[in-house]
Symmetry: D2
Subunit: 261 residues, 4 copies
């Protein structure tokens, strides 16, 4: 069975910027989704900010293996309830991939627990992406480095927690570097951040970038059953202790009472 | 100069539970603060939920090196603005130590990016705390294991991100285990979670526990200057690029414009 | 195509100890190999210390996806050349799983870079293994905890580097704990250590243990091509630099010269 | 009391290369040692390959807090017994800093458990070192980036395990990047790798580099007592179990017998 992916697009620049509309006539989400569907093992659909619940209803997330997120101009318009729902799905096992300016997306900041800030420059300069973790599944089929002739610069320090793995580091023509491919695990869900993808350049048509996206969907997919209550904190009664146990001393909670939150 | 610590106490059980009031006549925060002040290198004060802004004004946090947090019954009463302020101070370099039931404290969940859940049992059972990282600064002067005769049980799986270091793992009489001392870094701030400390037991009078608390304050202290805007995302103009750079291709932002958030 | 696994057995106790011979008439390696072959996706064979080159020729390792290692009494008899060969295969992408007393196996110590020591007691006590990383592929199909009624105790501190992930932590009847399932990556190869498996108990017949072994083989398998020279340090001539570059200043090496090792 | 550091120098190029001898008339080790001694909190001496036991006797290591290692042309001449002695001191708590071409030094490879390889080019090109971990103790007093006008290039992939922290990443004029400041912990000892320092350039006279070296010595210093037998694996007799325990089932070892290694 193929991996069920949603490509979530903010879909704002596509309507407001002629440059972006011309580059991505099917929307950036449409372009990314098409890249994923080139892989027979992935079945990708799209969702956008403007849909009810941003297209991310509980029912739909329950049937999604990996969510890919691109946002920029309208991070603040994403409803907090949807952010919590997305994070809960990740904790329960849904994979998630944040692209480029989604470093400031609400669910990314929520999952990281840090500001996720960086420095930036929009000059259409050359970016060269270096592999730092050979034969990593996210780098499948890629050379040790590849170039994007026109990209926005993102510079260190990048305000994220130490990653589980550093997969890519970028070189920029103007003199900066950036850890452009990083992995984390949050609960049962795998998280990948991938830097390239400024909206005024044709980055998501680049064959190497498209390969990374497909690889990342495979990597992020957790085939185990989704945990439906990933924040449950069950009480274990004394009578059900695994080793013989006699209650001693005072206690605060009465039998059957829930813990505080 | 000594390390400036605040011990933040929820201060609810002390007023409502006779058991807790008798055990901790100066409040749990008072007891913990006294433990810290036994170290000439630490200068500890207290703050409680009931104070204006929970005693954590911007001015006070700016003069705090390490914050120690105990909460349980009233996590939900902590104002979100104070939570963000605390997290921002951590990202800027303030150390923070979360104790026991503070696994569900808002700032801990915010910094971790995960549910921080666990299983639990209140039976006054024996806990034995094992050191897993020899000669770690947080374990200074401690034996390879020590016991608390009466504690609440917390059991795995503990819903936190993989730590930077696992310092302690607990054994429980009833058959469970728990990673009871874990470290992370979030921005410039160091974070330590330490499990023991149920309010109905005299845990914070235990000499080994008090030693851990003092050690952890020293470990969490970052003597570098506090970053005042830890979420800044500065634009680097093309004219100030470190390497000669000519702008190419289209762009979205005008000169001097801020980035989106 | 199924995953090609070798179960390497020291095969010493089987010949010298009646207890072990009776428990494992096909050898411990035979029992483990049979556990793996219950999975149609794995094709497991065995190799033992007593074979020429311990059964681990370059040709055979080149055709092996995952190596499973059990050793105890004869760690010192493993030839250093074979140890380097095994490690080189791991760096190139071969997965490797070290079981129980293989914490002191030469290739494990070589890959970890630490002493890999621990405390121990042979008393046939109860071990309870707790899952610390929900829905981790190595825990596929397992409950949150399972028991082995008779096992050797291993106690913390365990002298290994901080792992990439802690998957299991064990509780022991006599009062100790142990991080009993840990993962690392070394080069392109994935490494898993799994604690249970003392030779005088029927541990490798336990259904949960067998499930862990099969899961771990799947997890450790890197389907990417093996890197044949994982220690190559190529010179990049100035004339082949990716950006225009003019040589400046003095140098030590002449054109075409190899680097020092 | 000041931190006792040894700067270990291979001291080969100084004798064979006029360029190096002119740049570093006191030896590279002498220059680095002088940089450390500018800090009143550090007391640095030197040791070289050509001394008996390479100047690293057990007595001297026992009185050393942090060892700084530079080697290049003669890695193979370092005696294996000294390598094991150095690693054992690290496991017991001695800090260690490996500089530049010491990526191929025997003790570094031994502590990492990987090939530690990279790509390289000797062209005197510009290196710009970016800070990736703000307010990290190793970056104390440094700007967010600094430049070395002439350096050897080292390029990714760098064959080391995922670090505990990435502190610096380098940009090279010729188009490469490199994770040039990485930390690990091995046993009780802290390990730092710092990339710059090719022998034909005056790198160790650079004020920022010297600052990093001093900072790193402070960071690597573990003030806890040295563990003298960091590979001990003690047996815990049944009669000394922390919880009441009755021996059950067969065992392999007799009372008082040591474990296998």
């Amino acid at each position: 069975m193929s991996i069920r992916a949603i490509v979530w697009g903010e879909n704002v620049h596509e309507a407001k910027s002629r440059i972006v509309a011309d580059l991505y006539p099917d929307g950036m989400h449409g372009c990314i989704s098409a890249a994923l569907n080139e892989d027979a093992g992935i079945s990708a659909t799209t969702a956008v900010l403007q849909e009810p619940e941003h297209g991310l209803t509980p029912e739909r997330l329950a049937e999604t293996d990996v969510l890919v997120w691109w946002g920029h101009a309208a991070h603040g318009d994403v409803a907090d309830a949807v952010v919590e729902r997305v994070c809960s799905a990740v904790w329960g096992g849904m994979g998630v991939i944040f692209l480029h300016s989604a470093h400031f997306a609400k669910p990314f900041k929520r999952l990281m627990g840090t500001p996720c800030n960086l420095s930036w420059r929009e000059a259409g300069e050359r970016e060269r992406i270096w592999l730092t973790s050979r034969q990593h599944p996210i780098a499948r089929g890629l050379p040790d480095h590849f170039e994007l002739e026109h990209e926005e610069m993102y510079g260190e320090p990048f305000g994220v927690p130490e990653p589980m793995e550093t997969v890519f580091v970028s070189w920029f023509q103007g003199g900066e570097v950036f850890r452009s491919g990083l992995t984390w695990r949050r609960g049962a869900g795998k998280v990948f951040y991938f830097r390239p993808g400024h909206e005024t350049y044709p980055t998501y048509f680049d064959p190497n970038v498209r390969q990374v996206l497909r690889n990342a969907v495979h990597w992020a997919h957790n085939p185990e059953p989704r945990i439906m209550s990933p924040d449950a904190a069950p009480n274990v009664p004394v009578t059900e202790a695994l080793e013989p146990l006699t209650e001693r001393g005072p206690r605060l909670h009465r039998d059957g009472e829930s813990g505080y939150r």
